[in-house]
Symmetry: C2
Subunit: 221 residues, 2 copies
DNA sequence: TTCTCCAAAAATATCGATATTATTTGACTT
DNA sequence: AAGTCAAATAATATCGATATTTTTGGAGAA
């Protein structure tokens, strides 16, 4: 007999809800890197039982956002320059592979998908919508999803999230204003639509490297 | 008040124990691909509570050995030709990256490590020891571990396990006898010790492709 | 027969309580 | 004053029971 107090329209399991919220808290840095994640504390914060919290944390382990130390609980994954650079390197390698495969399979439906995502991203960017991050990710993932390689896409998605975590941590650096992000995206899109895999991957990797180098220069140790 | 009945010398959490056993059962095919993994059934099989089972299954999700369908339980990850070929492709890409980085950092300690692993693997192979699989994996991982790229190593380790799962499923095919595995390993080792990254990666990828093509030819759908 | 719908059964997800293990605190020794 | 050990505290891991949801099985209608 659940009262279901009008709002809270979400229909989902407690575990999944906890997973989404914890993920958000870690990505945005509200739960800082290295922090001990105490069950009781999170249980109260998310207003749920210990089991869903525990299971959500176990799931976040797969995303490398949480570390599990047997018998000693969970902690938010630590960060560091070496880790950041490994993420950057892996993204370049894996996204190049995925993008080339995607272009190899190029068809009209995929072109439509990518063009739409690009448009939505620009729209969100212009009005500085809070969901620009989501639209940005959706565009990048759309570029890759025609590879039909689910594991590779999962890796890329994971690495994307790990990367934006660093962006949140270095919050609001000027790097975004200086560069012309829109032009970079346009270059990638155009090359992809031309089915020019070499140009597309070159632009994509440049895009990552130039944001990467800035963030990397901000970090020590 | 735990009786601790003399044997069972393992000192570990129930969750971790369940994780290891379930992993083994899935890798060897005793829990076949696509099978529904019922909590109660596993609880009895592993002689533990529902919470450790549940948590172990959540952890196995990260290894892509278990799929979680919200509100509908867990199942052993399905298999298929496309999945196998994706694993093979990713291994070639990622292990090449890791091996090149490893060789770039080559030093005497690493050489020692690799030579030893190679020796142990051959020893285990000669007397057909049941732990040949472990030694084989240890050799391959030792080749990569000088890259000092923990995420990349984790991916490679994951993919290695996913691959041997297919070997178990195609159990005892003649492919192993036909080819001279030992020579292939020797070639990889020699090239690595010579710090010849091009040759080492070429041998490594050949090694994977030739076992891969055999297994792939065995599968349909 | 085939379809729909509802009750029964089974399985999952979640809770609350307890046992187990790690960490801290502080008295006591050197 | 510094170190050590044991009790007290806190946190994790686990269990058993319950609530929720999905699946099954079959009765009745088209």
């Amino acid at each position: 007999m659940n009262v279901m107090p009008d709002s809270d329209s979400k229909e989902t399991s407690a575990t999944h809800g906890a997973y989404l919220k914890l993920r958000e808290l870690i990505l945005t840095g509200e739960l800082p890197p290295g922090d001990k994640l105490k069950i009781e504390q999170l249980r109260k914060l998310l207003d749920t039982g210990a089991s869903p919290v525990r299971e959500a944390l176990s799931l976040l382990t797969s995303d490398m956002l949480v570390e599990r130390i047997d018998q000693r609980g969970f902690r938010a994954a630590p960060v560091g320059k070496a880790n950041f650079e490994e993420i950057l390197m892996l993204r370049c390698t894996l996204e190049e592979t995925a993008l080339r495969a995607s272009i190899r399979n190029a068809d009209a439906a995929w072109e439509d998908r990518v063009v739409l995502r690009h448009h939505h991203m620009n729209r969100a960017g212009l009005r500085k919508a809070p969901d620009f991050e989501d639209a940005h990710k959706a565009f990048h993932m759309a570029l890759l999803d025609n590879a039909h390689l689910p594991m590779l896409e999962r890796y890329c998605s994971q690495l994307y999230d790990l990367n934006i975590r660093y962006r949140y941590l270095a919050a609001g650096g000027p790097s975004y204003k200086k560069r012309d992000i829109a032009a970079e995206h346009q270059n990638i899109l155009d090359a992809a639509l031309n089915r020019d895999a070499d140009a597309a991957t070159a632009h994509l990797i440049d895009h990552y490297r130039s944001t990467g180098e800035y963030l990397s220069s901000q970090m020590d140790g």
